[in-house]
Symmetry: C2
Subunit: 345 residues, 2 copies
């Protein structure tokens, strides 16, 4: 037999309402009674039934985290684990649970998310990335479901885009910084390994690349661009394609560190040298950046903090305690290592 709030009430000689008040720390409860109740709880080893609490309070005490967003590999990317750690660290304190959502297709994703929210199973969502045309965001807004986006929406693709709460780093700016760094080191023919175009983050990094070229009066050339896909295998093919079609490049900007690591690997494989023949810079500062030879210059993105902030904002929103600013930008940092300079031994 399960121990319920009723048993506690009986033991403490009070009504269930009073026990509930103690449980939730709300309203006035006589101090002595409170203690009696507390000891009844611990003597009976009582644990409130969360399902009943949820139903009673009409709150799930749970948020959904949308991971995949249509790409298997995005998931096994270190970004994912780290951002979740950030989210957890905040939610744990508030006793909010994290539901991991990981859908195979976009249609499923939208349908399931709306369902999850409408069924009351989650109180809100954190989206770990945004697509360029993101119907999920449109639908969440249409259904008035609370969410925070890690990333940004592109104006004109989302009705009322200015209503979206987001946490982001300025990927355009950080990419400009990365590419400018290459240029300062003497680069003039800069290849870029992009990610498949449907994500805003990839697009922004590409835009930053182009902007940097423009700022420094360099010409953009289509043949400097290759799509690095999501897997190591795709990235390898992309790098080789780039090296084949543009053997004259003097540097590469990879839109994430995994692709940069692959680039270094394949350049070495061809008997060329990083940084002597080709400079390489990445984006993200994953652990792998320290593991390639030469070590990878990159942009450090405070991923844990992105998660933390997103969690905090979502909690605020769910409390109807709306933050003044819809958006929050977190700073990144250019990290210079061996792949863009001679390594100092």
């Amino acid at each position: 037999m399960r121990i319920t709030i009723k048993d506690v009430a009986n033991k403490a000689g009070v009504s269930v309402s009073t026990v509930s008040r103690v449980l939730n720390g709300r309203n006035y409860v006589d101090k002595e009674k409170k203690e009696t109740i507390m000891s009844a709880i611990s003597e009976l080893n009582y644990v409130p039934n969360a399902l009943a609490q949820n139903l009673g309070s009409q709150k799930a005490g749970t948020i959904g985290v949308l991971a995949l967003r249509g790409s298997q590999q995005a998931f096994s990317n270190p970004y994912f684990s780290e951002v979740i750690r950030g989210i957890s660290s905040v939610m744990e304190k508030e006793n909010v649970q994290i539901l991991l959502n990981n859908f195979e297709s976009m249609e499923q994703e939208i349908e399931n998310c709306i369902r999850l929210a409408k069924s009351g199973r989650v109180d809100g969502f954190i989206l770990l990335s945004s697509r360029i045309h993101d119907d999920l965001i449109v639908e969440l807004m249409k259904n008035e479901i609370d969410f925070v986006l890690i990333g940004r929406v592109i104006e004109n693709t989302i009705p009322n885009h200015e209503e979206v709460y987001y946490i982001n780093t300025d990927n355009i700016k950080s990419s400009v910084e990365a590419v400018s760094h290459l240029i300062e080191k003497g680069a003039a023919k800069i290849g870029i390994i992009t990610a498949p175009g449907k994500f805003v983050v990839s697009e922004d990094r590409y835009l930053g690349y182009r902007q940097a070229l423009m700022m420094h009066g360099l010409k953009f050339e289509e043949r400097f661009c290759v799509n690095g896909g999501y897997t190591v295998k795709d990235a390898k093919m992309a790098v080789n394609k780039l090296l084949d079609q543009s053997p004259d490049i003097d540097s590469i900007f990879a839109t994430d560190d995994m692709k940069a690591a692959v680039a270094i690997h394949e350049i070495n494989e061809r008997g060329l040298s990083v940084p002597d023949d080709i400079l390489v810079i990445g984006h993200g500062d994953f652990e792998i950046a320290e593991l390639v030879k030469p070590r990878l210059s990159t942009i450090r993105v405070p991923v844990f903090e992105l998660g933390e902030q997103a969690a905090k904002v979502l909690l605020q929103i769910m409390d109807k305690n709306f933050p003044e600013e819809k958006g929050c930008m977190i700073d990144t940092k250019l990290i210079i290592r061996g792949s863009t300079r001679k390594e100092v031994k």
Copy 2:
């Protein structure tokens, strides 16, 4: 105003019981009535309240996945994402949600898990790893909470250890295979980079190493063993310690691919060559294995499948449809690449 089962019942001219039957596909319902109800549901755009369903049926429809188990870095390890993908792929079909649990300390972990289960918020757990003396497992069993372990328990450390459902790969055997491979390639002084000792998986890989030495009549030496920790930084220090204290080693067995990658990196850094001076083999077959130079020989562990199987077994257990075997072993495979032989160009 929220649409409830009552509205559906009214619209379809039946009782709520009948609607509930249709919703759950249980018992007998007249075919025509069923269709009437179905169309009422879709016309009203009705979504059942999951919290109420949970409370009514006394099932959470949610399982907990225990990730961290006391190590930050274990979490950002690719194993984690992949195993979750495996679990998700099964749970999604059954409409079971996944709660991610990520506790800072062991005490918290145990207390929170028991609470989570007792409060009815989760129906069971999947543990992504086991410690050598794992009090959580003891407590879960004591409280009769359903769980499946990915890994194994060590006899004598857990009362009724034979009652634990588990999915595992034979880490001892696969490590014997890895080390034997080194020996076949001529190695005789084999270093090992271990992980901190509290996890069974690390211990097993260490045992496999020692067993392989014994099988081939090689002497075990303490100075061949270093603890690689969890981070790249720790691993670097460990590798350097190993190379310093035992400059005569001819090969290294790393208990995971990240450590192996670090080993290759540091060996190269010293101007030595893999595989000419030192052979290196890892364990896991993470993506990084393809990215180091030379590419890493390793043991491929079907991580996705581990997750899938664990999920399937947990579902069975929760259905009281107990599998005949408590344990399920999944095969691994030795993958030979450049780090243990001259790379064929």
